[in-house]
Symmetry: D2
């Protein structure tokens, strides 16, 4: 992975802490709307991590794809990723 | 919360397991594109949980909002939730 | 429709004007990234219209669902809409 | 633009036809939920066009970025596009 590993790990641990919090909210039978908001906050955080990972990938692996074959492989991976992101 | 608590807890625990897996992938310096795909899979799962929670809320709390005041409160909460979902 | 009809029409006409602009960009063989940005701007505008329409629906039709049967019908429509929005 | 121009134009014209249909629904005061569904269908179509445009960009412009300078420029454009897509 090309992204800043310490930063990505830290964000993922925050997301895991949020998930633990949501599980507790569910067990304590908290209000649906509050649980929904926390779920969306965690999704937004994972989305931010994904942005970090993909930006670093572009700036690292794609930038360094010197041969046409290398670039073709990276491009096809990005097309597949985009198909999922923009589904 | 009006949703099936056992089901929601089970899905959230699956998401937490996936997050632990992603943290391990980051520590093992796995390929960016593979990490990105796992992140999107976990986001999709949390999105599914959110759907469960909000559907149950609609079928429970909103359905049971007998007075106009009750309905107004529920409606304003849903408008605020929609603003976040459709941002 | 419960939303402000003049406002919704005006936003939709703006979106149609943007689409005409994008069609022209395609015919003039403009740069992909610029076309992509305009497409996303139009999607964001339609998303805003959808928010207007659904908020007004909640504040109008759902608020006025006095009988349990009425509410059940509205609730099931909203559950179906949410399933599409959160897919 | 690297994408198939005839295909992209055809899809955009379909989207414009859908928008005209939605404007007519608004003028005819049709049901909010039906208008919302049509809005989401048009957004999904524009999203598909965006996917076409960006995939063709990757397979065209990025694939042909032979020099490091070229690649850097393309990569920074893609990072900016991703930031919007994953916002």
């Amino acid at each position: 992975m090309m992204a800043d590993r310490a930063k990505v790990s830290r964000l993922l641990k925050t997301a895991r802490g949020q998930l633990d919090g949501i599980l507790k909210m569910v067990e304590e039978d908290r209000y649906c709307i509050d649980i929904s908001q926390q779920l969306m906050a965690t999704e937004a955080l994972l989305n931010r991590v994904n942005r970090e990972v993909l930006s670093a990938h572009l700036r690292g692996c794609v930038q360094q794809a010197v041969t046409a074959e290398d670039r073709e492989e990276k491009v096809e991976e990005l097309v597949a990723a985009l198909d999922k992101i923009l589904k």
